[in-house]
Symmetry: C2
Amino acid sequence: MSAIDLLRARLAELADLASVQMLAEWDQLVMMPSQAAAGRAQQLGTLAHLSHERATDEQIGAWLQELQGAALDELDADIVRIARRDYERARTIPDDLAVELARAAAEGQEAWQRARADDDFGSFVPALRRNVELARAQGQCVAAPGQRPYDALLFDYDHGLSSADLRPLFDALTEALPALMEQAAVHSPARPMAVPAQAQKAAVQSLLAKLGVEPSSWRVDVSAHPFTTWTGRRDTRITTRYSDGDVESLLSSLHEYGHALYERQVDPALERTNLGTGTSMSVHESQSKLWENHVARSPAFAEVLAAELTVAGFAVTAKDLHATLVGVQPSLIRVSADPLTYPLHIVLRFELEHALIEGDLAVEDLPVAWREAVKRLLGLEVPSDALGCLQDIHWGAGSFGYFPSYALGCLIAAQLWEAMEAQIGSRADDLSRGEVGEIQRWLAEHVHRFGRRLDTIPLVEQATGAGLTVEPFLRYVAPLAGG
Amino acid sequence: MSAIDLLRARLAELADLASVQMLAEWDQLVMMPSQAAAGRAQQLGTLAHLSHERATDEQIGAWLQELQGAALDELDADIVRIARRDYERARTIPDDLAVELARAAAEGQEAWQRARADDDFGSFVPALRRNVELARAQGQCVAAPGQRPYDALLFDYDHGLSSADLRPLFDALTEALPALMEQAAVHSPARPMAVPAQAQKAAVQSLLAKLGVEPSSWRVDVSAHPFTTWTGRRDTRITTRYSDGDVESLLSSLHEYGHALYERQVDPALERTNLGTGTSMSVHESQSKLWENHVARSPAFAEVLAAELTVAGFAVTAKDLHATLVGVQPSLIRVSADPLTYPLHIVLRFELEHALIEGDLAVEDLPVAWREAVKRLLGLEVPSDALGCLQDIHWGAGSFGYFPSYALGCLIAAQLWEAMEAQIGSRADDLSRGEVGEIQRWLAEHVHRFGRRLDTIPLVEQATGAGLTVEPFLRYVAPLAGG
């Protein structure tokens, strides 16, 4: 076998291991009996260890060496280019640091869970400090010459992006959104609506079926937190949750559908290669936000949603439902934030995690810094750390550099949506009839099919003809503020 | 790390991989969207390939070498003993034969499925011939000096057993059962009963709950063919199926429960070692048969089953239900055979597969030989190959040496049951009240806890004080014939 065939065989093996890992995690969250948790953690550890060993194996280095300067077709050239990047990245982390990172992440998550339940930040400090130190060490290991540790961590989620790219975008949001927020809180105030879980469930199932979710290649299940997983292009699994007190499942099921559609529409030629998945966290999040913000929260699609709920026994007008889905109110909790204030929650997390990793903020000063930032950006007092800096799992689990993708996703979604409508016209008529075929096709052609062949910014540029900017997002939220 | 620690770490990894493989297979049969089949086959292939590579790695040989003559405690000595056996066994099969075996098994299964659907044995001949030849080659590879190829294959399912051990047992069955069968067909004739699927389901769920099947460490699902799987001692998953025309789920759920309980009651100290599962196919089958034949088919437990069905809306007396569960009628199909004639189906398969592997029967002569054996053992004419030699998947999937365990399971179950009742008294009173705690404890102590530390015959001997014989089974079926 030639070097490229050997490399491709190994990449197929790694893709299979990743699929099996996702399956085991899905099973854990959706199907597994609770007492199996300890055993499952060991199984996942073994899979991670094996994957790492096979991904950093010196044979890969030898094949890449042999392929240096080889005449390859475009696809193989991309496969080799990304294989080299991934291999070099994986090899920079010493084994003992990798083990320590994994252990600290598991213990940090547990410490975080207890601290949040007890609203006791002090008890979380040692674990968080260890996570910060290890993440900084990791960033130092993987940093390119002259690259800061935080930026090196960011590369794992969004290759090619740096803090220097993020700052002007986030500064623009910080400048524009607080004022818009105050106007929107008057013009489009929060209008909670309690739809019975059974009606939501029936509506979501009917709706997803119309979007192409059929049982021969999809599953839709219930889990504590909605998520999407896949073990291949013909096995996509989304979860949602239903509760009587809200309308959350209407938004979250469309959100997860966006993640799922991305993975399903990657070019089949990339399957079982290193290019066969979404390219970055921010582009992935842009796909979920596109369906959540621009489809589910559109006035046109509200007609479809309202009709589904009415058929399911909860009579509601499109106008009332839409008002609920877009109502603006500054709040303390990120995951339930409205579409306008959501990115501000991310800006404050970016500021703080950047400062933690770069040594500009001590761990024990985090609660004070958090309160200051929430006051400044959202105008709110934080009554407790449980509703403040303890609300998210990420830092406890050792993830630094992940948060920005949530805000970038909102921006990219808006920019893609504008580009799409500029090219193929307003989607309002189609959406009011529940027709999304043209949207699916446009996304496949301009975003999904590339898999990892294009990084975030080149992908945005070729899809929209421009670099990433905040204007489309600001235009998207302007009507909420009466603009 | 010392050689024993390194070895144990590798065995833990292999145990984790086996668990993940079982999970992926369970998911495939119970949860997976149908279009994912091709991708799942690749994932399972990757897991099998990795497991084989890690199990035959020369490092293991080096650790075993180092451990030769080392002072080890009893458990570690057993771990090393079985590790050496497994390692040497796995290393005897050349990689290209292993690949060919796997491919032929997959293709043979497909060929068998089509041939059975079309009742066209001729179309199955090439695939079956290839499977026979490859299995013979495999047997020759792994055979100890002087061991016949078929006996070498048998070792994979039941280490320590040979055709010479089986023949006297199977001869005794051949001698005794046909006459008993004729008497039983009069004394305990078949009495079909059509219990609605919903009533069966309610009864099975309630029944399993009484046997300790609770959702924090068990799952009970539906699949096309009932089976049992586990990913650890606290994650046991059984499946069953419900149809309106029979009472099958009452027997099959107890059958699978028997397999499951065995795995759950292995000594926890053996978890994630090479000893932490059931020791052989025949002992595993003895555990399922014990619960199927000696619990579910007992007159005492029929009272519990009848009460459950009555509560579930299908009023029936214990007497009538018991008569249905034990009704005897010679039939063509193994999987639905009654408890008395079942072993005869196995005897005929043993005879034929032994002759195929040892070259005493040509593949194209199989249908004639099958018809002759069915006539001789069961007194029936075989109207078609679909109801004859094409009914089972095993040979199509390349499994030779597996069938005997089904009959041995019946024998061992009967022998264990007699030994247990001799030691702790008749179980009838307990069973009539649905109490099985003493049975569970006896099995844990005398069978389950050993895992793979004892092979089939030593295990039977220490549990029952005697070698394997047919008498307990013949005493078990005698009442059906009025004896």
